[in-house]
Symmetry: C2
Subunit: 294 residues, 2 copies
Amino acid sequence: MTDLGGTLRRASLAPSSSADDAAPLKDATLLSFNQATAERASLADVIEACARHGVPGISIWRHKLAETGVEHAAKLLRDAGLRVSSVCRGGMFPAPTAAERSTRIDDNRRAIDDAATLGAEVLVLVCGAAPDRDIGAAREMVADGIAAIAPYAAERGVRLGIEPLHPAFAAERSCITTMREARLISERFDSAHVGVVVDVYHVWWDPERAEEIARLGDRVAGYHVNDWLVPVKNVLMNRGMMGDGVIELRRIRGEIERAGYRGPIEVEIFNEEIWQTPLDELVRLTKERFVEVA
Amino acid sequence: MTDLGGTLRRASLAPSSSADDAAPLKDATLLSFNQATAERASLADVIEACARHGVPGISIWRHKLAETGVEHAAKLLRDAGLRVSSVCRGGMFPAPTAAERSTRIDDNRRAIDDAATLGAEVLVLVCGAAPDRDIGAAREMVADGIAAIAPYAAERGVRLGIEPLHPAFAAERSCITTMREARLISERFDSAHVGVVVDVYHVWWDPERAEEIARLGDRVAGYHVNDWLVPVKNVLMNRGMMGDGVIELRRIRGEIERAGYRGPIEVEIFNEEIWQTPLDELVRLTKERFVEVA
């Protein structure tokens, strides 16, 4: 279906149009730059670039905190005046033994501490895959894991955001693949403490997407934008800049807004070409596309 | 998660075990060899190999019919005594213009003719992707397309089998991604004429899989087995031989059997390494794994 790729490239920035679509964003007030979009840059450099380009929010990955230590990172963020929409990531609950699952719980507590220290609103949970073939058992381990950490997260003032991942990642990253499944787990807890993170890359295809976002209501704990490129090559690294793929971004934002969500919108793009882009150009382009098509 | 790959390779043939699992298959009576598993071989060679190895069924792809012509292919199949479980594929309904959609309908009628000539029980429908960003509109085009061809298929005695494809293919091959969605379309028609084809590769991750298979009941129009390899590289070509990946094959066959399905089970594997395997070795291995783990 190379035709499709061609058609989309030619009309790459023409958004879809429907009465249900959200109005264009007037400015970048809600923009949060997820650091994974600039994976090759240091945390300090990304913080500086966001401040320089007037990007108000940021999302921090834990492996990047090792560069500076969490306390120093918190100082850099405060000094730059950035809103920390989330920390990525907790989760990865399923493991073959009770001892290993317990180790994962401990690591999630440390992730909650990191989020609290950084003043992050949400800890994103990438739930993990089955250690064997039994995806049903893994789903139980996820629910048990969240139950084990939810009281501590509430105590530290960090909301947990369950992020369902695209079914292409079901065997390696997350046995939780649909918004419905994430919602059903989150409903075991107070919505103030456990919600669902909606990333367009993971959910755009879901025939029940609009209905499920409506059901989430105040459980929407975060909204991530990017795009689904055509043709798909490496499904992990197939994300593109908003406007370069097939996702109806304004349609989905309309759904999110009708659910009542008014929080930050993260731009999160795993893509080698994006990662090779010089940081200033990348942040400028992100802000431009955010306002133009997100 | 390379660990996972390692674990699975070591224990590659140990099936999952649960009271809900199907009993081991006693023999290859239900086996149908989908020709896509031997994409590099000619239709005549695959027919001969199936006959030689005592494989009772076959599924034929239309692009292979061009090699011999459909009438000659029908003769070869009859002479070999093979059961034709399905023809692949009809579908691809969405298109940007009414004229182009009408051309697709005509092609589907020819596919129905091919299936009737070959004595195939089912025409598999791979429904097609949106020609633009509007996946909702594409889904309507699919429902309209099936409505347009269903009467002709019934007249020719060919059952239509809607095959939901894995969401990784939503932008390029099929806007119909879940069993539920396929079932809801199929329910607009008599179950004798329109059903749903369940391919483990496309549905193994679905948290509502067992429930949806039960709801399908006599609408299960075909069952395809293979495996989901870890780690995923190219998602289109990531299928493996049964037993080499993470899919709980006997669990899903249990669900299919409880739904009442007693028809042929197709082995369909798109994988370059499988395609490079000499035909006799491939058919022998397929039969062996079918009995051992499917």
